[in-house]
């Protein structure tokens, strides 16, 4: 990006998939529920109600912290962040400001084949707010509040400003999502709001050493939009710097429809949140033993799995990292290899056919796949036994992917089986040779390439179902006699 270097830091909120909310026993699984059906005196801020910390949420946060190489603290504390908004029932959010549960972590990214470390400043636990629902135009506007989400546990992860391009920001988020899914603490679904990201960006003119003010960007509800919004902001800031204009320190929002950001509020309009220790909740104290137990019970993480796939299955780094980016995909791979005994071939099929079909058909979730390891085994067997060609196998796979039918059934139903009947092939060949004796002559006189013409003729007659090797063999047999 030339001499103008972007400096990006991210703040990510991850909704934890605990059974209950952070401070009450309402269900935390509130997505798509009718408004105000998961509420109680605590999460609607009734007078006199008190918060009681959900230990499962603390454990999830510790898991996340260890998975992201954080230092986890035995002592942390909740604080109140005070501000007024209708979706915030108590007039304050319970969060961890002074003593977060974890500090100093990092994630490692692969950026165009190079390793890149992004340092993480802190990870803390906090409660989500409710949701405002606006109805009608400005004259007859009505606003409603849905408190279902109020009190759902979140972790907030804050990076250092180590991210150097919008693309790196996207890669970072993909990595982070992969981790939270691996350890099973969140769905990581950005579209459903289970993962939210705000970004801070400033630009340094490397020639003069001058730096722009920092701009915060909000309202980006997909990885793609994070990348786009940051690209937009980068060029907006660079243009301003080139023109010698001041870039005000402000908060801007991404407008998906217009593919641009607009100013939401200036620095002067920022609130003083008057943080202070939450007196209703004793400090969170976790014993060394408990921390160690949680750390040790972490599942294999993406980076570890990738390395193992390279060592154990001999996969190239790129394939290994693609397959291990999603835990379910990696699991499917391993189960498939277990029954096929073919790590390399399996990985080739995953990397090409499976991922292409998932992409084409918009299947994001490996859990929803109809293809099973057994299906791969059958396909490999069909190829090995010569019953289908590789190209036919791909066609079979597509059908299996869409219908979940077994490959042999697909072959049967579609009549896709290779024509291996040599008598039939011979018949077709003899016919073709009769029609074109000139070509036969050419072959006899040493023009080996002409064989392609005859193979083509057989393919045409069999609808592509003949095995070229068999055709070749039969053809040579006829010539010799």
């Amino acid at each position: 990006m030339g001499k103008y270097k972007p400096v990006i830091g991210l703040e990510i909120h991850v909704q934890l998939s605990t059974r209950t909310k952070l401070f009450c026993s309402c269900s935390a699984d509130v997505f798509n529920s009718a408004p105000n059906t998961h509420i109680c005196p605590v999460c609607t801020g009734q007078p006199g109600a008190l918060p009681v910390t959900n230990e499962e949420a603390i454990e999830y946060a510790v898991k996340a912290a260890y998975a992201m190489n954080f230092k986890v603290h035995e002592y942390s504390r909740f604080d109140r962040k005070n501000y007024f908004y209708p979706d915030l029932p108590k007039g304050y959010q319970i969060t961890q400001y002074f003593h977060p549960i974890a500090t100093n972590g990092y994630l490692e990214l692969d950026v165009d084949g190079k390793k890149k470390k992004v340092r993480l400043r802190r990870l803390h636990v906090e409660e989500d707010a409710g949701k405002m629902i606006h109805e009608g135009d400005s004259m007859s506007a009505k606003s409603f509040v849905d408190y279902n989400r109020s009190g759902v546990p979140l972790i907030e992860i804050v990076t250092e400003p180590d991210i150097e391009s919008p693309k790196e920001a996207r890669l970072f988020l993909e990595k982070l999502r992969s981790i939270v899914r691996y350890i099973g603490i969140s769905s990581g679904d950005m579209e459903k709001g289970a993962l939210r990201c705000d970004a801070n960006i400033s630009v340094v003119d490397e020639e003069s050493g001058r730096s722009s003010n920092r701009v915060e960007v909000k309202n980006m509800n997909s990885f793609k939009f994070v990348e786009r919004a940051l690209e937009y902001e980068y060029s907006r800031i660079v243009n301003a710097m080139k023109n010698g204009e001041n870039v005000p320190q402000e908060t801007r929002g991404w407008i998906t429809r217009d593919k641009r950001t607009i100013s939401m509020r200036s620095k002067e309009e920022e609130s003083d949140y008057r943080y202070f220790p939450e007196p209703d909740i004793p400090p969170v104290v976790i014993s060394k033993e408990k921390l160690e137990y949680i750390r040790r019970s972490l599942p294999e993480l993406p980076d570890e799995k990738k390395k193992r796939f390279m060592d154990e299955y001999g996969l190239p780094e790129y394939d290994a990292s693609v397959i291990t980016s999603d835990k379910d995909l990696a699991d499917l791979y391993e189960m498939t290899v277990k029954i096929t005994g073919k790590p390399k071939e399996t990985s080739n099929w995953f990397m090409t056919e499976l991922l292409r079909m998932m992409n084409e058909k918009g299947v994001d979730d490996v859990e929803n796949l109809k293809v099973t390891p057994q299906h791969f085994k059958e396909i490999f067997d069909l190829i090995d036994s010569g019953r289908v060609t590789k190209n036919m196998a791909k066609e079979v796979f597509r059908e299996v992917f869409e219908t979940g039918k077994s490959p042999s059934e697909v072959v049967r139903n579609k009549g896709l089986e290779v024509v291996t009947d040599e008598a039939r092939i011979k018949e077709i060949l003899l016919e073709a040779m009769k029609r074109n004796p000139k070509a036969v002559e050419q072959y006899r006189s040493g023009k080996q390439g002409v064989i392609g013409y005859f193979i083509g003729q057989v393919m045409k007659a069999t609808g592509g179902k003949a095995d070229p090797k068999v055709v070749q063999k039969v053809f040579q047999g006829i010539i010799k006699n």
Binding site: P41, T44, G45, Q46, P47, G48, A49, L50, P51, V52, T53, R80, N82, F84, P86, P89, K90, G91, Y92, V145, D272, R274, Y275, F276, P279, D280, I281, P282
Partner: protein
């Protein structure tokens, strides 16, 4: 009036009592809400009437906190203490008047009307649990619940001549107590005998899963009379006795009190706690800071008063301006100021440190000594309207505030009269020595006959 007078009472007796209260309360104004048909649950104390300070939530029964902003608020749930009282058979007969959100020392800060002192209706009953104290002192109920953040149970008990007990912080659940200052608030009973105080404590105390600041230390309120008193020692804090606002006749009563203790075999000596003189300053930073946050939920959105405006901000401003009284606004402003980023270190953080220091000094003395004693209030009940400037009202809490800052148990013992008005003495003890504090109070009660 005692608990034992009512055990087993049925509808007729309760109805009779209510009729009587209705008549007599015209002169006292102890109650904000008096029930017509209170539920009489089964249990060991079935039939015993109890009055509840109006900042403790009662399902289906209006809970105002003495404020316009909650004038018509009917809570959807019961406080833990209410659930416990019901299980034991107590009959909640009504909700008592109080200074708005428990901020005040005279009950004159009630948004509805002041309560009068049954011992002299020209005078205040103290506060903020003035309604509960007056109801007990007037013989309307044998027991009442109050809440104590800086003396709000003990001081009105002293000014009306009844027993009032603030337990160790964490002994009684605060779930359902509308928060004033969460780190200081504690619910406790008012009664005419120490035995009745102990009975109510036995019912309402204990670990509560809904309040994570409650302790699982088990206290023996049933066996408090067996605790040996002779040979114990008590301290008088020099700095407390040097307080210039102490009425000389109250000071004389206190000397009598010391003699009474000594006669029982309690040795009394003086100690110096140099930091205790900063108690009021510390309290008036810590408490308002918590107030500014605790009272943010009264915004007109979900419950309580709403005054509409052109936009959201105007709705907030109009609602809170109309809903809160002067003293509440003053403390919200104070707290908003001391918590703001620019002043946090200089005020709130420093006050937290001083609070720790005061507490540590008190814990240290209470490690070697069983009790700390003082008058409960430096003065007897002032006349209604007599004290108006906030500072002189704040200073009335000089003896009671330290127990809240340190979270230790403290009781008011009615100890005779000064100029015909009740005077009260305070006994404090170490954390979780609640039963032992009651034991000494009971001995004094017996000694006075």
């Amino acid at each position: 009036m005692k608990i034992s007078d009512f055990i087993g009472a049925r509808e007729e007796k309760i109805k009779g009592l209510l009729k009587d209260i209705k008549k007599r309360d015209k002169d006292i104004n102890a109650f904000l809400t008096l029930l017509e048909n209170p539920e009489i649950p089964e249990g060991p104390y079935s039939g015993v009437p109890i009055a509840i300070k109006d900042n403790i939530t009662t399902e289906g029964i209006r809970t105002t906190c003495g404020s316009k902003i909650l004038e018509n608020f009917i809570p959807p749930y019961n406080a833990t203490v209410i659930e416990k009282l019901r299980k034991a058979g107590f009959v909640v007969i009504g909700k008592t008047n109080m200074d708005e959100f428990a901020m005040g020392s005279t009950t004159e800060n009630s948004a509805f009307f002041p309560t009068k002192n049954p011992r002299d209706t020209e005078r205040v009953p103290g506060g903020s649990s003035g309604g509960s104290a007056a109801a007990v002192a007037a013989g309307m109920v044998p027991v009442a619940l109050g809440s104590d953040t800086g003396g709000s149970i003990r001081q009105p008990a002293a000014l009306t001549g009844v027993f009032g007990f603030k337990p160790t912080y964490g002994v009684v659940s605060r779930y359902g107590l509308v928060a004033y200052a969460s780190s200081l608030d504690q619910i406790g009973p008012l009664a005419t005998t120490v035995e009745d105080i102990a009975t109510v404590m036995d019912v309402i105390s204990g670990k509560d899963e809904k309040d994570s600041t409650t302790s699982d230390v088990k206290l023996n309120f049933r066996g408090f009379k067996d605790i040996e008193i002779s040979g114990r020692n008590a301290v008088i804090v020099k700095e407390m006795m040097e307080y210039e606002g102490l009425d000389s006749e109250v000071a004389k009563s206190f000397e009598e009190f010391v003699k009474t203790l000594e006669k029982m075999g309690v040795s009394v000596r003086r100690v110096s706690l140099p930091t205790i003189k900063y108690s009021i300053a510390t309290y008036y930073i810590v408490a308002p800071a918590e107030v500014s946050s605790n009272l943010a939920r009264f915004d007109g959105i979900r419950y309580g008063l709403r005054v509409s405006g052109e936009n959201l901000k105007e709705l907030y401003l109009k609602t809170r301006n109309a809903g809160f009284g002067e003293e509440v606004k003053r403390r919200i402003l104070l707290g908003t100021f001391t918590l703001s980023a620019a002043y946090y270190d200089a005020y709130f953080e420093k006050a937290q440190k001083v609070r720790r220091k005061i507490s540590e000094e008190m814990y240290e003395v209470l490690e070697d000594n069983d009790y700390m004693i003082s008058p409960t209030s430096p003065i007897v009940a002032p006349k209604i309207g007599e004290k108006t400037d906030p500072l002189s009202l704040y200073l009335m809490d000089f003896y009671t505030i330290p127990a809240n800052l340190a979270g230790i148990p403290a009781i008011n013992i009615p100890f005779g009269e000064v100029r015909g008005l009740p005077v009260g003495m305070q006994i404090m003890g170490g954390r979780f020595s609640d039963a032992s504090v009651l034991a000494l109070a009971w001995k004094v009660e017996k000694a006075m006959g």
